[in-house]
Structure formats: C-alpha cells, structure tokens
C-alpha cells in the first residue's frame, strides 16, 4: 500500500510539474479571463478527469481495492453549506495567488521564498481550522442542552 502511495505521489508530482500548474502565472492566466487567456489549466483538468474516469468508476463499484484495502469513498450527493462556503473561500485564496495544495507542495523544492510563504500560510490555515473545529466540538459537548440531532444537509439524502 505504501509503495503504491509513494508511486502515486511520484506520478502525481511529476504530472503537476509537467502540466505547468506549479507556475502561478499559468493558473492566474487561466483564472484572469479578462487578460491574455491561457486555457492550459482547463486542458489539464479535463485530461486528468478523462484518464482517471475508468479506474475511478471501477473502484466505486468495488468493496475492496486491488491491493485489498476496503473502499470507502466520500459521499457524492449532499451539497452542504460547508461545502459551498469552503469552496468559495478556497477559490478566493486560489484567485489571489494562483496556488493550491498540490502545486504548492510540489514547489517547495524550489526553495523560493514566496512558495514557502504560501505553503506555511496554507498549513496555518489548515491547522487553525482543525483547532477551531475541535474547540467547537468541545463547547457543544459541555452545552447544557445536549441533543443528538445532526445538522441536516441542504439536499435530501437518497
């Protein structure tokens, strides 16, 4: 499993680097549709989805992966306010910088200060979110009126 994960990461890293997506100017060249438009990102995304499609569809229909690990992929149906808000916020940060987790990780080896600043800020954001989640969970545990009602998603589950 770990060997597979390593090679998947290696392949993923090479792909991200080759695609040019680690260059923020290319990402912003796509997102800034008002400027000289660079559709490379769109081509990268479409190609990646097309190539991943068959293995993903096969995997979704299995209970165990080829190496034997149980398959328990995330839910595909519920569109929650967390999902939409989180995506919106992610997009704003992405549009400000042209960077996101994968390309950022793959660019650390450049030892370029702006890359490290983004990566550190991103990790700080992730850590901050985690700690905030834990604090929120703790305070709901000590609340006087305790219910087991989970927040309902915006769309009904099948």
């Amino acid at each position: 499993m770990n060997k597979l994960a390593f090679f998947s990461g290696l392949l993923f890293g090479l792909g991200v680097l080759l695609s040019g997506m680690t260059n923020p100017d290319k990402v912003l060249g796509f997102l800034n549709i008002a400027g000289a438009w660079d559709p490379s990102l769109l081509l990268v995304l479409v190609t990646a989805v097309v190539v991943a499609f068959v293995p993903m569809q096969l995997a979704q229909r299995r209970s165990k992966a080829l190496l034997g690990e149980p398959i328990a992929f995330p839910d595909t149906r519920s569109i929650t306010s967390r999902l939409l808000l989180g995506s919106a916020v992610f997009g704003i940060g992405w549009g400000m910088t042209g960077l996101c987790p994968g390309p950022s990780l793959a660019s650390l080896a450049s030892l370029h200060a702006p890359q490290w600043l983004f990566f550190a800020s991103m990790m700080a954001g992730m850590a901050g979110f985690e700690l905030w989640q834990r604090a929120a969970a703790k305070s709901s545990q000590t609340a006087p009126l305790q219910t087991n009602r989970k927040a309902a998603p915006l769309t009904a589950k099948p």
Binding site: L10, M21, V89, A106
Partner: protein, 147 residues
C-alpha cells in the same frame, strides 16, 4: 475575454501532465482505495499530528512521493514555480484562505476537481463550480486592482 494567448498556452505539456495526474489518481483509487486529494492527505496528516496521533503511513508515503518528484525535477531543470513574485500580503492571506477553504469543503482541485469529477460526484461538481467562479472573479479583480 477568452481570446487564447497562444504564446502562453502549452497544450502538449498540459495534456501530458494532466494524463499523469489522472493516472496517479486512478491508480491510488483502484489499487489502494484512497482518494488522491492533496488537501485531505496533507490536512489529514496535519490533523493527526496536532492530535498527537501518528498520521496514516500511506499518506506520508504519498507526500514523500510528491516531494521526491519535485527534488528529482529540480536537480535537472528549474521548477516552474521558482520564479514568480507576488506581494507577501497576498500570499499570506491567500494561503490562509486556501487552507481553511480546502478543509471546510473537504477537498481542493485534486480531490474535488480530478477525483470527484471522475466519480461523477455532484458534490464535487458543486465544489468545482463554486471555486472556479470565486477564483475567476478574484483573479480578475486582483489583477485589475494591482496591475
């Protein structure tokens, strides 16, 4: 708007890079039953570390793989992202927003964009549509305001 600038568009490397990304995601999913979503792999490992738990070894292996690719690359030619300049305030705030947003939405370009769309997940479609929209509006605005 949408007039392609052919001097910057790199179709062949985009195709090749995209294919490798897709292959990596497909292999991890079908072979290992895991989603190749960087925010989940990175963020999940961070969450474990913050809780003094040992992160999942497959996640660490994946991250090492990405780092290995970048080091091997950097040894031969400069990394594509090694030149860019940006105001540090933008990088700081942008980084925070990307980190928070990715964890809040349980995914990013690789998790929702590649894996989610390949799964025909409407959840990921909503995520991608949303972050592409705010991403475009933000990029256009920032560019107009700063440059």
């Amino acid at each position: 708007m949408f007039t392609i600038d052919w001097s910057v568009f790199t179709p062949y490397s985009a195709l090749a890079g995209g294919a490798l990304i897709g292959a990596a995601a497909g292999a991890l999913a079908l072979g290992g039953g895991k989603i190749a979503g960087i925010s989940g792999i990175l963020g999940g490992s961070l969450s474990d570390a913050l809780a003094a738990r040992r992160p999942a070894s497959w996640r660490l292996s994946f991250l090492v793989g990405v780092l290995a690719a970048s080091v091997l690359w950097a040894l031969s030619i400069p990394l594509p992202g090694a030149q860019f300049e940006a105001p540090w305030g933008l990088l700081l705030v942008g980084g925070l927003l990307v980190g928070v947003g990715a964890r809040l939405s349980s995914g990013c370009a690789s998790g929702h964009g590649v894996c989610g769309l390949a799964r025909l997940s409407r959840r990921s479609l909503a995520a991608v549509a949303t972050f592409l929209s705010t991403g475009i509006v933000t990029a256009v605005s920032v560019h107009a305001l700063l440059y």
